[in-house]
């Protein structure tokens, strides 16, 4: 079935992962981290939305599965944010192929499956972690005096650092605005105060 989403996913993969273009993205630290990697994850995510069954939130195991899937995705993305592995991907085509596959299949895909299965607290937790990870990376890239990656120059690190802080700010606003000013009308007070719920 050729849906809109699968077309976009295929297009993203074509742009981000097919060699001459892929090397162009990887030639710059900022393009590599902030454009190629997100495109790969997004492609995997879109593919995932096509194949993942819709969640049955009444089932406990579903939620646990959701958490596991998102954790997997987080680890995968974090791994490829480590300068040493970025370097390795630039240096070796084989590592680069692994990077592309894992980001699509082990980050994007599980995210699409896991995210809808997370409860609001778990989502908030992931969101908050994402913000602080972006700040951490921003601080590190911004203040690290030497080259972190052999393949890239120091001045690119500073740009990346600022961009990371920008991403943190964006994630923060994107989370805060609906939470503070969202327009749903709420629900009546609980009839049995002090009662327990499963978030």
């Amino acid at each position: 079935m050729l849906s809109y989403r699968s077309l976009v996913a295929a297009g993203l993969l074509l742009i981000a992962a097919v060699p001459p273009l892929a090397w162009w993205w990887e030639a710059s630290l900022v393009r590599h981290m902030l454009m190629q990697i997100p495109m790969l994850v997004l492609a995997g995510f879109l593919l995932g939305t096509l194949v993942a069954p819709s969640p049955d939130l009444g089932v406990r195991e579903e939620r646990a599965g959701g958490i596991a899937a998102v954790l997997l995705a987080t680890f995968c993305v974090t791994f490829w944010m480590i300068p040493r592995w970025l370097d390795a991907a630039v240096a070796s085509h084989r590592v680069d192929a692994i990077k592309i596959m894992t980001l699509v299949l082990l980050a994007g895909l599980p995210l699409a499956w896991g995210w809808p299965r997370l409860g609001p607290v778990a989502r908030g937790f992931v969101w908050v972690q994402a913000i602080s990870m972006a700040i951490v990376l921003g601080l590190l890239y911004l203040t690290f005096p030497n080259r972190l990656c052999n393949s890239y120059l120091v001045n690119e690190q500073a740009i990346l650092g600022i961009a990371m802080l920008g991403i943190a700010g964006f994630l923060g606003l994107a989370g805060a605005v609906p939470v503070l000013f969202g327009a749903n009308n709420g629900s009546p007070a609980p009839r049995h105060p002090g009662a327990r719920v499963d978030p």
Binding site: F125, V128, V136, L139, N184, P193
Partner: protein, 485 residues
């Protein structure tokens, strides 16, 4: 919407158990940390031999542990009362306690066995450059802090989830539509408004804490990764200031909820109340540069702003909560009891504790007071005589003194008087030592300072006796609370 305070608080079996567990842990850790505090005072007074390395480990554990239990106790108070208006999760509160306990074990190991002693403020680069403790000890201490923070974050997120489910958004549960004249609905109850503030501040605090602790942990593993020390200090004090302060905004709802029961008058939110709490939400998060007045490299506008905002930050506490609560009690025929007495005392401790804080937040004063004992003087004031009595009042309310109907004994009143008198003496000695320029965080005191330390030791011992009395009372009464009588 619920406009008035409920007359009766209800809680189900599972909720009772986890609330009790939290309070037992908080009470036990409180006493242990107080004893460590006394050990420090005895060491400084020359009455007890405390080797400096041990002193600074104790100082680190005491500060971290006290802030930890203030947060644990505070969030339990908030959880209990907030659960009267929105549906909260007992699982999350349990997860928080587990994370707290694991974190405490890791921190105790890192500090007392690993030797980590960088103080509760973990000012970079000291944690990883302690010279005598290994960087791994810093790694583990920070990991322990992260676990405690993760637990608090979970509870805050659960508050947020529940508030949004009930009110639609945090803006609404904060009362903003009414504040800005966009809605004529009745305001949310005070506890809901305070709970919203706590949700926002706690979440941002944990983001700040994680953002600086992870780089420091990386630095512990690989010293080549460093952070700019001034930037680190800003983030650390954003985190530390907000965390230490939000504990009182958690615990203060016990005043909003219980004082009306004793005074027989309702405590309602008003637009001024909303404005005050909105001001607090914002100011608590941005006045931290008052910890950096002596960093001359800070931009001057930041220091000036921090001084002015530190003044105005006292307005909501003084004029909204303080005034409101005093008006509530004034000529109300309030029933004095152990609980209402502790509540009244805690309000005094909070307001009076603001005074030395605001004074020290004046840059010219800070030049001669910063990092003297004036500083522990001001925060022990509102912690020891503010936050802690709020939590103690809550404990005793749950377990025995429902509206003072159980007869008060003389010993109860004596305990209250000793706590207040000795507590006041203890913090005033800190302040007085600050007046005489005695530096803060000195394991070994000069002979001319020791007379203050000796007075402080005696006061501290008395405070501990009174606190132990309250906590034993709480433990004895716990059965009744658990049986849901």
């Amino acid at each position: 919407m619920v406009a008035e305070n409920p007359r009766v608080f209800t809680i189900d079996e599972a909720g009772r158990r986890i609330v009790a567990a939290n309070l037992v842990v908080a009470g036990a850790v409180l006493l242990a940390m107080m004893l460590l505090g006394l050990t420090m005072r005895l060491g400084q007074s020359g009455w007890l031999e405390v080797p400096p390395a041990r002193f600074y480990q104790i100082m680190t554990v005491h500060g971290t542990g006290m802030i930890g239990i203030a947060a644990l106790g505070g969030i339990t108070v908030m959880w209990y009362f907030l659960s009267q208006y929105v549906r909260l999760s007992t699982h999350i509160l349990t997860a928080n306690l587990l994370l707290f306990l694991i974190g405490v074990v890791i921190i105790l190991t890192a500090d007392f066995i690993g030797g980590f002693a960088a103080g509760w403020t973990i000012l970079f680069p000291l944690p990883t450059h302690g010279a005598v403790w290994p960087a791994e000890a810093a790694f583990w201490h920070l990991l322990g802090l992260m676990l405690v923070g993760a637990g608090l974050l979970l509870v805050a997120l659960d508050f947020g989830r529940a508030l949004i489910a009930r009110y639609g958004s945090l803006g609404r549960s904060h009362g903003w539509p009414q504040l800005f004249g966009l809605s004529n609905d009745p305001l949310p109850p005070p506890t809901v408004i305070a709970g919203t503030m706590v949700t926002i501040v706690t979440t941002l605090t944990v983001i700040g804490g994680a953002s600086i602790m992870v780089p420091m942990m990386i630095n512990a593993l690989n010293p080549a990764f460093t952070i700019n020390p001034l930037l680190a200090k800003n983030v650390i004090y954003f985190f530390g200031h907000s965390l230490a302060n939000v504990t009182i905004y958690m615990a203060v709802v016990v005043i909003y909820e219980l004082l009306p029961l004793f005074a027989g008058r309702p405590y309602k939110a008003s637009r001024i109340f909303v404005a005050g709490w909105t001001g607090s939400t914002i100011m608590v998060l941005i006045i931290f540069p008052h910890h950096l007045f002596m960093d001359f490299a800070m931009p001057q506008w930041a220091s000036g702003m921090a001084q002015v905002l530190s003044f105005t930050n006292s307005f909501p506490a003084m004029l909204v909560t303080g005034f409101g609560a005093l008006a509530l009690v004034h000529r109300s025929g309030i029933q004095w009891s152990l609980v209402s007495g502790l509540l009244f005392l805690s309000l005094f401790g909070w307001l009076a504790g603001i005074v030395p804080a605001v004074i020290d937040a004046t840059i010219v004063v800070n030049s001669v007071m910063h990092n003297t004992l004036w500083v522990p003087g001001h925060f022990h004031f509102y912690m020891l005589l503010g936050v802690i009595p709020m939590i103690l009042a809550f404990m005793l309310y749950l377990t025995r003194d429902r509206l003072g109907r159980s007869p008060e004994k003389d010993s109860d009143m004596w305990a209250l008087i000793v706590y207040l008198g000795a507590g006041l003496g203890f913090v005033l000695v800190f302040l007085y030592s600050g007046r005489h320029s005695v530096p803060r965080r000195w394991a070994v005191h000069w002979p001319e300072w020791m007379v203050y330390d000796r007075f402080a030791s005696v006061f501290a011992a008395l405070v501990i006796l009174a606190a132990a009395f309250f906590i034993v009372r709480f433990l004895i009464g716990l059965r009744h609370f658990l049986s849901g009588r």
